[in-house]
Amino acid sequence: MHTLLKIFFLLTAGGIILSSCTKTAEGIQGPQGPGGSNGNSATDQRSGITGYVQLVDQFTQALSENDSVVVSTTMGDSALSVETDATGLFLLPNLKSGTYRIMFKRNGFDSLAVNVKHSAGNEDKFIGIVQMAGTQTTHFVSQSIQLLPSPFDNVSKYADMLTTITGPPITGNTQRFINMYFSSSAMVNANNYLYLFQTYTHNEGTNQFETQAFFGGTEINSTRFQAGDTVYVKTYIVPPYFFQNYATSWFDTNTYKSIAYPYIGDSTLNYFIWAN
């Protein structure tokens, strides 16, 4: 019963539409419409800047989820910001021609900036893959240094250094890389030193590793030490060498300096007393 009623109404409605369609409009044609708007200005062409971020943890393992990296830039006084998706894809849309400083940030990873020349036009500017490295989270707990006579001759000596660190126990997957700078000055650092000793951990299975730096005679890099002199040692956690082969540097337009990437980690200053 209800179905029949519906069909009846449908037929009736259809009849009304058909009859209205058969009526023809009569009268005088209206005036011409207004002209179209102007085309876009040539100087205001825009297109996006796009690319991918690949996250790599502090031990150089590539991550499969690359989301939530904040990618930001400025255009004039406007600040623009987007986030990557799980594949690492980002798109900063509608940018005019110009040079952009694009910043990449995510908690737990070293931030960086990339300068991009952009010419707008019909295509988005694809800048490829930007690799972001996990921040070195290892900290120094303690370090003891002893100067010992070399077992190989009567002149050489070596510094035997026992270092304890935080973070996961040292294995092949959590290898740490170390730079040790030696100096007669307590102001020793990566730019002010007599001798650089680079080393790495092995498969200790603990949070402690032992390293040995050898010295010939009574000198460190032509600086003579006498019994009782203090030798300062500044030790840094550095990003893995292997990763450094792939590392880039970025140009800081605030300081006009090139910044090596990824960044150096924790450091500790210790000393030992020279003995003849």
């Binding site: 179209g36 085309g39 876009n40 021609s97 010419s119 036009g121």
Partner: protein, 252 residues
């Protein structure tokens, strides 16, 4: 009574900057043995200006030019029959000064023909897996370069450089003096640092330009210089002349 006014006309066409300039670059053509071909002519290079395709051809030195291009961002495609299709994305062209826009050098790599692999076999012992690669070397005038093979081993039946657990980038596949090529892989290395046994899949491919594969940590091949590109649609590395698929063998 006149009807209402008609709709507005279509918008005027977008303005374009009067300045135009040249986008140019150089390419090097390599044969399947990784040797540069002296004559680099005949590579078709194309780009789009709006919906219009502009095409030019490289000269014998590998130079190519697009004159009179308006300001914009351009994507270039390089094609030659028998060679992998190379692409370059995101060239920023802002003409108006005396400096034209130079595209970094790219490599055009021949697809494998003589170096196409006929078959591979695997001999397993308790601690090693020996992989032998067969291809017809009868027409070779010199020995196939050892870097021209890439070996991937992994747990995924559809192996790619991204999911391979092992790829010997420092353990090259060498001629074995019997017309084949071989490499011996330590079983303990198959699964990376946590070898857990089970079924592994193995693929050998040919390529050129000293291609090395880094399975881990960086899931990419290193072709030395500009022998690959990154696909903007998925962010994956594309190796235009790498042929991997037909040689999958299971290691128990």
């Amino acid at each position: 009574m006149p009807g209402p006014a008609g709709p507005p006309g279509t918008n005027g066409t977008d303005g374009s900057l009067l300045d135009t300039g040249t986008v140019y670059g150089n390419l090097v053509v390599y044969n399947e043995f990784s040797w540069p071909i002296a004559d680099s002519s005949g590579v078709s290079v194309s780009l789009n200006v709006g919906s219009t395709v502009h095409t030019t051809t490289s000269d014998a030195s590998g130079n190519y030019y697009f004159h009179g291009l308006p300001s914009g961002t351009y994507n270039l495609t390089y094609q030659k029959t028998g060679f992998g299709t190379m692409k370059v994305f995101g060239i920023s062209h802002s003409p108006g000064s005396s400096i034209n826009t130079e595209v970094n050098e790219v490599y055009i790599l021949q697809d494998p023909v003589k170096t196409a692999i006929d078959s591979i076999t695997v001999n397993e012992t308790y601690s090693y897996v020996q992989v032998r690669i067969y291809l017809d070397t009868s027409s070779f005038s010199y020995i196939q370069y050892q870097y021209n093979f890439v070996l991937l081993i992994g747990k995924d039946p559809t192996l790619t450089q991204a999911n391979a657990t092992y790829s010997p980038y420092n353990q090259f596949i060498s001629p074995d003096g019997q017309g084949t090529y071989s490499v011996i892989v330590d079983r303990g290395q198959l699964g990376g640092d946590d070898h857990s046994g089970g079924t592994y899949y193995l693929t050998v491919g040919t390529c050129n330009r000293w291609l090395r594969a880094f399975a881990n940590p960086n899931p990419l091949f290193d072709t030395g210089l500009s022998g690959y590109y990154i696909d903007p649609s998925d962010g994956k590395y594309v190796y235009p002349n790498l042929k991997l698929s037909p040689n999958t063998i299971t290691i128990q």
